[in-house]
Every structure is written in structure tokens, then in C-alpha cells.
Amino acid sequence: MDRQLFDRDFLKKLEYLSLVSRKLYRGVAKGAHASPLRGTSPDFADYRTYQPGDDFRYIDWNIFGRLDRLFVKMFAEEEDLSVHILLDASESMAFGTPRKIDYARRVAGALGFIGLASLDRVGVATFAAGIGDSLAPRRGRRQIFHLFEYLSRVAPSGPTDLSRSLEDYALRSRSPGLAVVISDLLDESGAAAYRRGLLALRYRAFDVVLVQVLDREEIAPADEGMSRLADMETGRMVNVAVDARLLAAYRKKVAVFLGNLEEFCLGNRIEYLRTSTVVPFEDVVLKYLRQGAHLHSR
């Protein structure tokens, strides 16, 4: 196992995080997630603003006394959750310093750890030109070592075919749940590829979290000069006299691409997080994922 992927301090922090799906799914077994069917052992889940028609019994009068505002306590029946981690293992993920694949493996490991710690069913699959090796969904903390061992074996290779990979996975999966897609989304087919792939997951009722990992050099390259650019995935090369004008055009292209992606995710209820390998990994997990709706402190 790659011991360097997660240090002890980091694992300790993850212990306090739980993975919560925005949607409530009916699990195969009891878990730590609220069920849309409120049962007999409801746990407090959250507050929300009082809406006309809400049951007065769930109004928190203590808060009303302090804030003079009405909040309704929400309870949920806990169920287990299937977490599908889809990790991009194409050749392009080997780019960057540190490599994007290392960064992505840590994200996947962290999320898997949190899922297993919350007694969720966690499965991992890698993809490049198609779905590759996968770790079948499993539950229990003891599976953490299997997860880490699996992740440590992941090696980037081959070109990316996002639409085919995600479509295949969506069709193949028998228990849709939370799909965490970790990728750089750099597919030769451009925006059409990720659109088809992500929509396929959405159509199969996956709750999708998209984590895009990019290197700083991909977002804003700075090297000028006579460059022979070699595509890591296809091996295709182009000679470019890179100057400030071209770099500006490149940055503009990237900005448009990311803007469209963000807009697409927002329109399709896909949680989208973009990160760069220069952002400390711990910050990403603890801060960025915390801002989403899937994690809550116990």
C-alpha cells in the first residue's frame, strides 16, 4: 500500500467527517443516512426555515426564544449509501507536479475512507478509454485497506473517452447512489464527451459529484519559446512558437471551457468542484468538500 498517500494526521481528521448524500436513498441495510421515509427512530438532521403547513411539533421553540425566528427541526431515518468513486486513470492524469493521478488518488482515498467509516457501501472504478479495473462496492472499516491497496495500484495509461466510460458505468451499475467522478475532463472530444457521460449518470439517478483536478500549468501555462508540444495520451505533436499572445489565447480557451462546464453542472444538479494540484490536498478535502451538501460533521 502506498503509505505516503495518507498520513496519520490526515486520517484522524477524516474520522470526524461523514458522507451525506443530498438525496436520501433507500439503502440495502441500515446506515447513517436519512431516509425519505421517516421512521420510528428519527435523528435530528438539520434545521430549516419554517414554511406554512409545517408540523408545529417540529418547531424549535428554544431557537425561536433566542432568535425570534421559526426554524423547523428535521429528522431523517438513517440508511446506508452506495458511493461510486470513478477515478480517471488516463495518461493525462500523469501530468503535473505533483501528478494529478496522485492528487486524485488521495481524494478518492479520502472519500472512500469517509464512506466506509460511515458504514456506506463504497466501490471504486478507474476509467480511461473505457471502464477499467474496479473495486466492487463494499462496506465496513476493514475494507479501507483494500481500498487503499487498490488505489495504490492505479497507474495512468491510455487516452480518455469520458462519454463511453461514464455511459458504460451508468449502464452497468445496479445500485445507483452517489457517484464521485474525479477527472481532469481533458478529452479530445471536448465538452461533448463530459456532457454525455455525466448526463448518463444523472439519467441513471446517480447523485453526481464532479471533482476536476487540473495542474497549474494546464490552467495558466507561462513558458514561452519554440515548443514542440506532445500530447501525453495520443503522442501527437505540434510545433508552436509560444508567445504572450498565444498564452493569453490559451488561457481564454481554458476559461471558456471551465465556464461552460460550471454552467452545465449547475444546470444538471451536479456538484462541481475544481481544484488545482497546488492547492493543499487536505484543504480540498476538509474545506472544499465540506462546502458541499454531502459532508457533515458528526
Binding site: D215, G225, M226, R228, M232, T234
Partner: protein, 624 residues
């Protein structure tokens, strides 16, 4: 702008070669990228300007191309023809000597020179003026400084080459004296270079432009024609003359040609002459023809200069001389004069001489006061003429002649050694007098030959010496008359060199008309004094009427230096080898090769710096 070596521009072919090499050898730095997704779109949208920018961006390539261009231009030797601005005038020296009449194909050298001069006129900068000097035997101002193009054009078109020999040095000196260096005046000399040197004039000054016309040509010419007496002194009509003719070849091939010498319509000499290449030959034959009228010598050659293929002479008959003797009477003098032929002697007193209206040929003052002397021939005995740098500081007694200048024509065949003189004037001559004889350290006999005044001065009374008793006395008088009038006793074959002035007798109020060899005529106003006729630029016979008996003047080229029409004058610039003796096209044009060489050097330095920078950038990129 012109180029000395246009072929050097072929070096510019290296520019595309360097571009090709650069495009092939450009050091592309390999960079792996995760995807060409964005780059492909960027390149597709910027494809049009990419290639140009790729080249322009490559500073090394750009600088190398510029350096090659600069080197090519430097090798091509660009010359910048400085146009005259308002402060720079042009002094045009146009060679009009006889060699410029040499044929160059269907044209003469002067035709080409005229064309070059008109080109120079068309190149004359706005506001610049031009002055034209015709360089013949003596330089003449054809057109003074003017910016009137039409006047200059007409003057250049009307200019003609002459049969005159000439020294271009005088014309260049005149041009230099007219040049205003502060205004940046320039000299343009158009010549065939058929002369040896300019003396101490440096022809390679940057503001002097030499334009050479003509090429190597062959010529054979008559360089002199003369007649001399061989005997029968005083009996010219009986013959006793010898003709001397000089011929010279300036050809690279031997030549055989006929020589014909005619006296009027009669052919006197006819013979075949053979000349080796570059040789000279003198032909001396007894003259059997008449000793009056025209003589024409002609060689039957086909060469490139016609002016020296014929030579001319005119026999002038012996003339009588009128002598006026002023004095109290001198038996010895009168006896000696009476023994000389072809003389008319009249003796008058000083008062009678002053009253006389007509002038003799020779006036002899014998012991009388001599007034200031005008033009003419004089013998002064035992007196000092006024108006000349000569004074008599008393007298000396008991002298004996010790020194005599026997080389002077007045003392030819005259023996004065030991002549005893009872009393002589203590003469103190100034500049201009020639001492003929001295006694006791004091000159006793002097000659003056300045302007048109010839004088023999005898500083003692001949009656108080033994000179009249010696044969030297009549010989001295005869020499004096012959010195005064060469044609006194014998016919003369007179001739002038083309361009030399001729002195013509004139009568007051009577015009002197000169008929030129070509048929035209010139009239000169008679003043009673000899008048100068200068339009003798063409060889041939000139007929003079008025001012006395009609006479003829023969004019010849008679110049071996001018007959040599081979261009031989060389201009060396800054001590360099004189590759092109007389620069045809360059002259005062400013060479720019050094500026381009400096530019090439600077560009090479920039290229080096750019290469260093590029290398440093590449290393930084490799480290990243």
C-alpha cells in the same frame, strides 16, 4: 546610388538559405502536455499569423538576414553620388585638345565627352551652378558659373575639340582657383587621359571626379616640319634648302605608308616610309621645290587621329630692311651698313627724326640722346636709352674686351676678343638686359629682347676703338639685322603651333581679315600696331589680308605628346593601386561600403547577444 561590384549582391541568396536552415535547425523544446485540446483550438484560430510571427519572433534569424544583407551591400561597393545642393557648384573641365578628336568607332572621343557632360548637367542638383572650362592649349572659360540649364546645355553642345596640343594641368589649376571649398564645389574633369601627369596636382581628391572617355587607339603622325638653309647664303632664290620632317608611330603594329610633300599643286617629295611600332623617324631631303607659297606634307595612313596626318608650312620671301641712322655721321658705321645687302639706309639728324612721320624697320642712335623707345628694333651706340633699367655711371678709359657671350645669335661668328676701347660708358644694367661683351669687368655690349622691343646697345663710340677695323664689325651689324628680321636675307618656312597666337601687322583704321582653313573669316580692327590673332585652333593655312602685303600662316599640331592618343594618365586614390587610371563612373562619389561593413559588424554583435539570450532561455526552460 550605384554599385561598384553588383555581382556581389548574389550573396543575398544566402538569406533564403539561412531561413531554410533556421526553419530546419530551429531548436524546438519538447514539452509534454496533458492534452492538445486547447492548443489545437488556439492554433487553428491563429494559424494565419503564426508562421510570420514565428519568423519575426526569431531575433537571431532576423539579425542574421540583416547582417548578410549588410555584408552583401558592403561587398557590392555602393557609391552615393552626392548631388550638389545650393552650396555646391560644379566646375566642368572639358578636354578639347587634339587627342579628343580621335575616332572611337563612329564617334569621336569628344562626342562621348559631350554626352558625359550633358549627363552631368542633368545630374546637377537643384540650386547648383556649373562653370565650363574648355581645356585646349590655354584653358578658356566657356561658360561662367550659372544655374541656367539651357545656357549650359547650349554651351556644351556647341563645344568642339580643337587641333591644339594642351596641358590639362593649366585647366585644372584654373578650376582649382575658381573652386570655393567652403561651398563644397566639385570638379568634374572629362578627358581621354592622353597625357602623362598633372605635375604637383593631386587628382585623387574626394571632390574631384574624373570621367575618362576613349580607349587605346593607334596613331601615326607628323610631329614636325622644318626647312633650313644648306648653302647659297643670300641667294635664296637659287635654292640651298633642306626639308626636315619628323614622323612618329604610336601604333602597336609596324606600318608602311606613302609620304607626299607638295609645294602648291606640285608634288616635290613622294616616298614610302616604314615605321616600326612606337618608333620615330626623321626624314631629311634636299628641297627641290619652290621657296615661295604653301608647302603641305601628308602621310597616307588610316589611323584614329587625322589632325597630325598633314603638316603645313609657308615660305615667306626675303624682305628688304629700312635703316634710319641718327647721328652726326659715322664713316665706319655707314660703310659697314652699305656693305650689307637688302638694306635701305637713311641718315638724319635727331631733329629730323622727330619730325619724320613714317617709321623705319631699324633705328640706329649713334652718340645721340635716345628718347624712350617704343616697339621696334634699335641699335644704340655710346648712349643710354631712357625708360629701360640701365644707367651709365660715368666712363672708363683704356679698356680691352675680355669676355664675350658667343652663344648669343648677335655674336655668331663675331670675334671681340682683344678689341681695344679708348673710352666706354660705365654701364649698370638692370634685369632684362643680356650682357654680350665686357671689358675690365664692365659690360660694354648689351642686348634687350622684351615684349616687342629689340635692342643692341654698344656702350662706346666705335670710332674710339679698333672694332670698326675688324671683320667682326659688319658681321655684328648683319647679325643684328638678322636677329631683328629673320627673313631679312633668306626665305622662311613659317608656321605656328595650333592655338598659339599670331601677331599680324595692321594699319590704323584698316581691318585685318583672316580667312580660316575651314573657309570662315575673322576681322580684326587695325590699330597701326601689331594685333594678336588667337583663333588658330585648326591646322591648315590662314590667309591674312590688310595691314600690309597679303600673307599666309601655316598652323600645325606639331606635338608628339598630343599625337600619342593612348590614355595613360593614372589616378591613384589614397595610395592604392591605380586599378582604373581615370575613373569613368566613380570619381567623387562617396563610397558607402564602410558604413555597411560597420552595420554588418554591429548586427553580428546583436546576433551573438541574441544567441546568448536564447541559449540562456533554453537552459532555464530545460531546468524547469
Amino acid at each position: 546610388m550605384s554599385l561598384a561590384s553588383p555581382l556581389a549582391l548574389l550573396a543575398l541568396l544566402l538569406v533564403p538559405l539561412v531561413i531554410i536552415l533556421h526553419s530546419r535547425a530551429v531548436r524546438w523544446r519538447r514539452r509534454e502536455v496533458s492534452s492538445l485540446l486547447f492548443w489545437s483550438e488556439v492554433l487553428r484560430e491563429n494559424r494565419a499569423s503564426m508562421r510570420i510571427r514565428r519568423i519575426l519572433r526569431n531575433l537571431v534569424l532576423l539579425v542574421e538576414c540583416l547582417a548578410i544583407a549588410a555584408v552583401a551591400l558592403a561587398l557590392a561597393g555602393p557609391l552615393f553620388a552626392r548631388r550638389g545642393g545650393p552650396g555646391g557648384d560644379v566646375i566642368l573641365v572639358l578636354d578639347t585638345t587634339a587627342s579628343m578628336k580621335a575616332r572611337e568607332g563612329s564617334r569621336t572621343r569628344f562626342d562621348e565627352a559631350r554626352g558625359r557632360a550633358l549627363e552631368a548637367l542633368s545630374d546637377l542638383g537643384r540650386g547648383s551652378r556649373m562653370l565650363v572650362i574648355a581645356a585646349g592649349r590655354t584653358p578658356g572659360l566657356a561658360v561662367p558659373f550659372t544655374d541656367d540649364r539651357e545656357t549650359l546645355r547650349r554651351a556644351i553642345q556647341a563645344a568642339q575639340a580643337t587641333d591644339e596640343p594642351g596641358d590639362l594641368r593649366d585647366a585644372v589649376l584654373l578650376a582649382l582657383s575658381l573652386r570655393d571649398a567652403s561651398r563644397g564645389d566639385r570638379l568634374l574633369v572629362i578627358t581621354d587621359g592622353a597625357f602623362d601627369s598633372l605635375g604637383d596636382i593631386d587628382p585623387a581628391r574626394p571632390w574631384m571626379r574624373w570621367v575618362r572617355v576613349g580607349a587605346a587607339r593607334s596613331n601615326i603622325g607628323i610631329t614636325s616640319l622644318a626647312f633650313r638653309r644648306t648653302g647659297g647664303e643670300g641667294n635664296a632664290a637659287a635654292g640651298g634648302y633642306e626639308m626636315f620632317l619628323s614622323l612618329r608611330s604610336f601604333s602597336a603594329r609596324p606600318a608602311t605608308f606613302p609620304l607626299t610633300v607638295s609645294a602648291g599643286p606640285s608634288v616635290v617629295v613622294r616616298k614610302q616610309v616604314t615605321l616600326a611600332p612606337g618608333s620615330a623617324r626623321g626624314i631629311s631631303v634636299p628641297w627641290t621645290g619652290p621657296t615661295s607659297g604653301r608647302v603641305t606634307a601628308e602621310i597616307g595612313v588610316s589611323d584614329d587621329l587625322a589632325a597630325d596626318d598633314r603638316a603645313f608650312a609657308v615660305f615667306v620671301p626675303a624682305r628688304g630692311v629700312r635703316v634710319r641712322l641718327i647721328g652726326e655721321g659715322n664713316f665706319f658705321l655707314e660703310t659697314a651698313l652699305s656693305s650689307l645687302p637688302n638694306l635701305t639706309v637713311s641718315r638724319v639728324s635727331a631733329a629730323e627724326a622727330l619730325a619724320a612721320s613714317d617709321g623705319p624697320d631699324v633705328t640706329i642712335f649713334d652718340g645721340t640722346v635716345v628718347p624712350p623707345l617704343g616697339k621696334g628694333a634699335y641699335i644704340v651706340i655710346d648712349s643710354v636709352p631712357a625708360g629701360l633699367p640701365l644707367r651709365a655711371a660715368g666712363t672708363r678709359d683704356g679698356l680691352r674686351v675680355t669676355n664675350a657671350n658667343l652663344s648669343h645669335p648677335l655674336l655668331a661668328s663675331v670675334t671681340l676678343e682683344g678689341v681695344v676701347i679708348g673710352q666706354a660708358l660705365r654701364l649698370e644694367p638692370g634685369p632684362g638686359f643680356t650682357e654680350l661683351a665686357a671689358a675690365g669687368g664692365t659690360p660694354v655690349m648689351l642686348a634687350w629682347d622684351q615684349g616687342e622691343l629689340k635692342l643692341l646697345l654698344i656702350g662706346f663710340d666705335v670710332r674710339e676703338s679698333d672694332l670698326p677695323l675688324r671683320p667682326a664689325f659688319p658681321v655684328l651689324l648683319a647679325n643684328a639685322l638678322g636677329w631683328f628680321f629673320p627673313s631679312w636675307l633668306s626665305v622662311q618656312a613659317e608656321q605656328l603651333q595650333a592655338g598659339a597666337p599670331a601677331l599680324l601687322s595692321s594699319a590704323a583704321g584698316q581691318a585685318v581679315t583672316v580667312t580660316l582653313p575651314g573657309g570662315g573669316s575673322r576681322s580684326l580692327a587695325g590699330t597701326g600696331q601689331p594685333v594678336e590673332f588667337t583663333e588658330t585652333s585648326t591646322t591648315g593655312f590662314y590667309r591674312v589680308q590688310g595691314g600690309g602685303e597679303p600673307r599666309e600662316i601655316a598652323v600645325n599640331l606639331a606635338s608628339p605628346g598630343e599625337s600619342n592618343i593612348e590614355p595613360r594618365f593614372e589616378v591613384s586614390v589614397d595610395g592604392e593601386a591605380p586599378a582604373d587610371p581615370v575613373d569613368q563612373n566613380k570619381g567623387a562619389r562617396v563610397p558607402l561600403w564602410s558604413a555597411f561593413a560597420v552595420a554588418a559588424f554591429l548586427l553580428a554583435a546583436v546576433e551573438w547577444a541574441a544567441w546568448l539570450r536564447e541559449t540562456a532561455v533554453a537552459r532555464q526552460g530545460a531546468r524547469r
